[in-house]
Symmetry: C2
Subunit: 146 residues, 2 copies
Amino acid sequence: MSEQPAPAQTTVQASGSAVPGSPAAADAGPLPAELAAALKRDSAGLVAAVVQQYDTNEVLMLGWMDDEALHRTMTTGRVTFYSRSRQEYWRKGDTSGHVQWVKSVAMDCDGDALLVRVDQVGAACHTGTRTCFDGRELNVTTAQAV
Amino acid sequence: MSEQPAPAQTTVQASGSAVPGSPAAADAGPLPAELAAALKRDSAGLVAAVVQQYDTNEVLMLGWMDDEALHRTMTTGRVTFYSRSRQEYWRKGDTSGHVQWVKSVAMDCDGDALLVRVDQVGAACHTGTRTCFDGRELNVTTAQAV
């Protein structure tokens, strides 16, 4: 079983939780070994991926990625998610045309979240709003005035 | 067992997945019933919370909230998370002083993510960087140039 030979291609700096010989590192998956070892997946094998418009910094949506979805996102130019409800890979825009072009991907300090900066074509939300959070504010009773 | 009597206080518009009589709605928790019914928690009872600086739109970090953590975030002016690793509630800033003051909270279209806009004092990351993603970019081989 060969390991991915290219950990030097990543700039992962959050590998404190990497465990050599752990299942994630030992199973040759689609990701560079160092990155695969640093990811802290939930019980379903997923990490949260925050999608942000690269020039305005709007938070567009949150999706979920397993190793293969992250690999596709890093190598194809389009964001790929893994659907928890449908249990399948999907790309924003395949039916709507509202494509997300990848600008950059970063992993957070403890490896359980990704920040994917994109150029979003049209609406990010399937309901037609620009972001999946637009018009969905909750009542916050003691917040400071913005 | 009394239910929270105040669903009208929320502006939840993403209640398509609400199931009257579901465990989340039937157990009187800390949240308004409509909000509790609309949240789509993972197997650990958590939703992802994206924390964003309200004036610059920087994505600072991602944390996790159960119903109680969300309730505290909505009612105390400070962001409260639930730690998956330590299995306890925590607030950014209690030890570092790097407090997050809540400006607004929104739930996404399918109820499994929150966007918490804050005023972040100092560094959001425990490593000392402004955000938990700073300097942690992965190699993206086919991204468009920013």
